[in-house]
């Protein structure tokens, strides 16, 4: 029963990632695609956590924090690029 519930959860998260990829392709504006990419990154954290339960190992638990940090940095840099046109500002006076 427990294994069945875990596999069902994995299928649900995979289906939600597929729906988000659909929005990523058809999204009318760039911020739509950024929202969808951010949600895919969050879903990837959940997939990694459930896979570590399925395979019964704790080697993947470090990857969770790493994927979370990378998704956050990617989203912040996309937002800053959309707003200001550059990511790393060399001239801080204006």
């Amino acid at each position: 029963m427990f294994e069945f519930v875990i596999w069902i959860s994995l299928a649900l998260i995979a289906a939600s990632s597929l729906l988000l990829i659909f929005r990523l392709i058809i999204g009318p504006s760039i911020p739509d695609r950024a929202v969808s990419l951010d949600a895919i990154g969050i879903n990837l954290v959940g997939i990694t956590a459930i896979i570590s339960v399925v395979l019964d190992t704790n080697a993947f638990l470090d990857i969770i924090l790493l994927i979370g940090i990378l998704a956050f940095i990617g989203t912040v840099s996309i937002a800053k690029f959309l707003e200001k046109g550059e990511i790393i500002e060399n001239d801080r006076n204006d």
């Binding site: 029963m1 427990f2 519930v5 875990i6 069902i8 959860s9 994995l10 649900l12 998260i13 289906a15 939600s16 990632s17 729906l19 988000l20 659909f22 929005r23 504006s29 760039i30 911020p31 739509d32 950024a34 929202v35 969808s36 951010d38 949600a39 969050i42 879903n43 954290v45 959940g46 956590a49 459930i50 570590s52 339960v53 704790n58 638990l61 470090d62 969770i64 924090l65 979370g68 940090i69 998704a71 956050f72 989203t75 912040v76 996309i78 937002a79 800053k80 959309l82 707003e83």
Partner: protein, 120 residues
């Protein structure tokens, strides 16, 4: 006995998290403009992933006798950063003039900016 109760709680938490992720994906696909989609993606998906990570932490704690502090740190990090990322994307969308939904009756940020400009 205690193992069965633990498995029930962990299975419920993980299933609930996956269900919330699916709800948020349906919201991102169906809602009309970028601000409402951002609302769906940044609230519901965060709650789902926090629930899944709590379930996984309890799995390794109760069934494997292994307390992993990095999972707790991941829960805290996602809880803090996901609303910030949603707010940043939404602000970038407003400043690059993505249109609101056509049935939206009021744009309060535009009115507030107009009032601030009038006072100066």
């Amino acid at each position: 006995m205690i193992e069965t109760i633990s498995k029930c709680i962990i299975g419920y938490l993980i299933l609930q998290g996956a269900f919330f992720s699916l709800i948020s994906a349906i919201g991102v696909l169906r809602l009309p403009d970028v601000y409402t989609r951002n609302h769906a993606a940044s609230k519901s998906a965060t709650l789902g992933v926090i629930s899944i990570l709590t379930g996984v932490f309890l799995y390794f704690w109760l069934l494997k006798d292994h307390i992993n502090a990095r999972v707790l740190l991941g829960i805290l990090f996602i809880f803090l950063t996901s609303p910030v990322a949603g707010h940043l994307i939404s602000r970038a969308a407003y400043n690059t003039k993505v249109k609101l939904w056509k049935n939206n009756p009021v744009d309060e940020l535009k009115e507030a900016r107009q009032e601030a400009k009038d006072e100066v």
